[in-house]
């Protein structure tokens, strides 16, 4: 009623103004960054004196930038795969299991969301040094898996919770074994949740910078680390281009997750 378009009172305009202000507040920095990535000047000048795609060319031709992009994708992909391999069985245990301490275990699996990342980073760094893993691909995977797994578990668990278990019973009475019923009926039914969980896991790894800084070496950097390191040396517009790439990829994944969720909600 407050937003009834036919009765546009003062309230409507006040709310519209507040909404617009919040949107501007959230989007303006990103807008500047995207504009700057097409900026012709050698410096981050605003307004841009002219337009160019030079910085993107450099981003995709400079071997060290390119390597960081490839690293981010590789690490994100492996983290996604492991998040699902571990997340699906964990979710079954947390949702279906009947055992003492289930609630505690549930809290434990989501604790990486609460513990400050810097603490996890310091702890992992120490551990990685001890085992001689510092700066390796494995160390990156292990670190990112810790923060990505809770997201995968939350997504998969919540769709498993809404899944009606009697469908599995029905499949069994139809002649499918327990595992057959899960494989043919349960997993396909919760597919949107599994996809969303996997994409979130990828996204967490793709965006993550704190753990990555600890795990990185000059030879093995992810895109956010490369941005960070470059930023400390100079203010090249390539950074803006890299950031734009990061934002666009992130948005694409988020939109994909939303698109996957919608058909599930309609059911």
């Amino acid at each position: 009623m407050l937003l009834n378009r036919n009765r546009r009172g003062a309230q409507f305009y006040i709310l519209a103004a507040i909404t617009a202000a919040v949107m501007v507040y959230l989007l303006v920095p990103l807008f500047f960054l995207i504009v700057l990535s097409f900026n012709e000047s050698r410096w981050l000048a605003f307004p841009p004196p002219g337009w160019t795609t030079r910085w993107f060319e450099e981003l995709f031709t400079n071997p060290s930038w390119l390597a960081s992009i490839v690293n981010s994708i590789k690490i994100g992909f492996v983290v996604m795969v492991f998040s699902l391999l571990l997340g699906v069985p964990t979710s079954f245990a947390l949702v279906r299991g009947k055992f003492p301490g289930k609630t505690a275990l549930n809290a434990f699996f989501t604790s990486p969301l609460i513990v400050p990342v810097i603490i996890i980073a310091v702890a992992l760094y120490g551990l990685a040094l001890t085992f001689g893993l510092a700066g390796t691909f494995t160390a990156f995977i292990v670190a990112h898996l810790i923060v990505a797994l809770p997201f995968a578990i939350i997504c998969i668990s919540s769709s498993l919770m809404t899944f009606d278990e009697s469908l599995e019973k029905a499949a069994m009475i139809c002649g499918a074994s327990k595992l057959g019923a899960i494989w043919r009926i349960t997993l396909p039914s919760i597919r949107p949740g599994i996809f969303a969980g996997g994409l979130f896991a990828f996204l967490i790894s793709w965006d993550e910078v704190v753990l990555a800084i600890f795990m990185a070496t000059p030879a093995l950097q992810t895109l956010p680390v490369k941005i960070w390191v470059t930023l400390r040396a100079d203010l090249s517009p390539v950074i803006a281009a890299a950031s734009t790439l990061l934002i666009v990829a992130t948005m694409a994944i988020v939109l994909l997750v939303l698109a996957l969720r919608r058909p599930q909600a309609e059911r």
């Binding site: 009606d164 029905a170 069994m172 009475i173 139809c174 002649g175 009926i185 597919r191 059911r267």
Partner: protein, 379 residues
């Protein structure tokens, strides 16, 4: 007509071999006995209903037959073989559930085909058998739809097809029509009977709806507090209820308490709490002096104006409180001198169909052989 039909159906299955046998089945959850010492035989081709209130153990018994629950004690035999420890998917049983359990990501065709697919049946044969099954439930043209595009009634018909397509020996139905409205329920009840007769499959049907049980079943097992309290045809249960619970659960009934004062040549004379004397067929276990609960059916009694010629042996005077018109019948409420309310149901086309046109002094009368005696403390 219904009577002959029921008799024929029963006669048909009487000489059939036993398909399902349940022996002394007990299920305990901690201290609670959900099912207590249930025994029952179901003949091949028979449709037996488990009728009872919720929590009476009927669904638990069904789940043990299906294999979703393990009995604490007792045996379940299908075709003479004990099936304890056999996983549900190897029991060769079909089941229709109360909730809609079609697989949402599969089409109607794929849903019905599922039991054949997991059994590795060839594609051509699957197509042929699914067509035939969909034809039987009259949903041939719906094969490409998703369950979400079907109504509740259609979904349960598809679930039915999915349950019988692989020709299981036994079909279990757990209140499959519970979520549907009355008209739709009756429609699908007819469908189930048709399929039962056509395929000759043995069906165990769980319901809490006595009308549904009467309409569908060859025999009905009435459950209460985890036990089977009576097994019989609908006619047997309604006309000769074994105890007060069956009398009150199957059909409507009037209960009056009293004491047997005399018993001879198969007839007991009962003194009611209100002072009136009633005659009833004697029951050997209820001797003179026994406290009893006396029952008669509202539609087997007649309402009379006070002082009018007596129609039947048993009568109780009272005051007519109200007459409610229900279309095909009229429901009268009579209050006796000691304050017991008695309901009387009369066909609206009958003599006093539209009521006596008065409230006030009246009497209810009914026949001796329509009077049932039960021990007072039962129920």
């Amino acid at each position: 007509m219904t009577q002959t039909l029921v008799k024929n159906r029963t006669a048909q299955s009487a000489d059939q071999p036993t398909l399902l046998e349940v022996r002394n089945l007990t299920k305990r959850y901690g201290e609670v006995r959900a099912v207590a010492n249930v025994s029952l035989e179901v003949k091949q081709g028979e449709l037996v209903s488990f009728l009872g209130p919720s929590g009476s153990g009927k669904t638990t018994t069904l789940n043990m037959i299906a294999g979703f629950d393990e009995p604490t004690e007792g045996d379940i035999l299908i075709g003479g073989k004990a099936i304890q420890g056999v996983s549900p998917h190897k029991r060769d049983i079909g089941m229709v559930f109360q909730r809609y359990t079609l697989f949402p990501h599969l089409t109607v065709f794929e849903n019905v085909a599922f039991p054949l697919t997991v059994r590795g049946v060839g594609k051509a044969e699957i197509a042929e058998r699914v067509r035939a099954a969909l034809k039987l439930i009259r949903l041939e043209s719906y094969d490409e739809r998703r369950p979400s595009q079907l109504s509740g009634g259609q979904q349960q018909r598809v679930a039915l097809a999915r349950a019988f397509i692989y020709e299981p020996k036994l079909l279990l139905m757990d209140e499959p029509l519970g979520a549907l409205d009355k008209k739709l329920r009756e429609e699908i009840q007819i469908e189930i009977r048709r399929i039962h007769e056509r395929l000759g499959v043995t069906i165990v049907y769980v319901t809490h709806d006595q009308e549904e049980a009467l309409r569908l079943s060859d025999r009905i097992a009435v459950f209460n507090h985890g036990r089977i309290v009576q097994v019989g045809t609908g006619i047997e249960l309604y006309e000769h209820p074994a105890n007060a619970f069956v009398a009150s659960f199957v059909g409507n009934s009037n209960f009056l308490s009293g004491r047997i004062v005399e018993s001879q040549s198969g007839t007991s004379k009962v003194q009611l709490a209100g002072g009136d004397t009633i005659v009833a067929p004697a029951r050997p276990e209820l001797g003179v002096g026994s406290a009893i609960s006396l029952m008669f059916r509202p539609e087997r009694a007649i309402l009379r104006r006070a002082g009018e010629a007596q129609a039947h042996e048993n009568r109780i005077p009272g005051r007519l409180l109200e007459s409610v018109y229900l279309g095909e019948s009229v429901s009268h409420t009579l209050m006796t001198a000691d304050g017991v309310e008695i309901s009387i149901k009369q066909s609206s086309g009958g003599e006093h169909g539209l009521g006596l046109g008065f409230t006030g002094d009246a009497e209810v009368c009914w026949r001796r052989d329509q009077t049932h005696l039960f021990p007072a403390d039962a129920n």
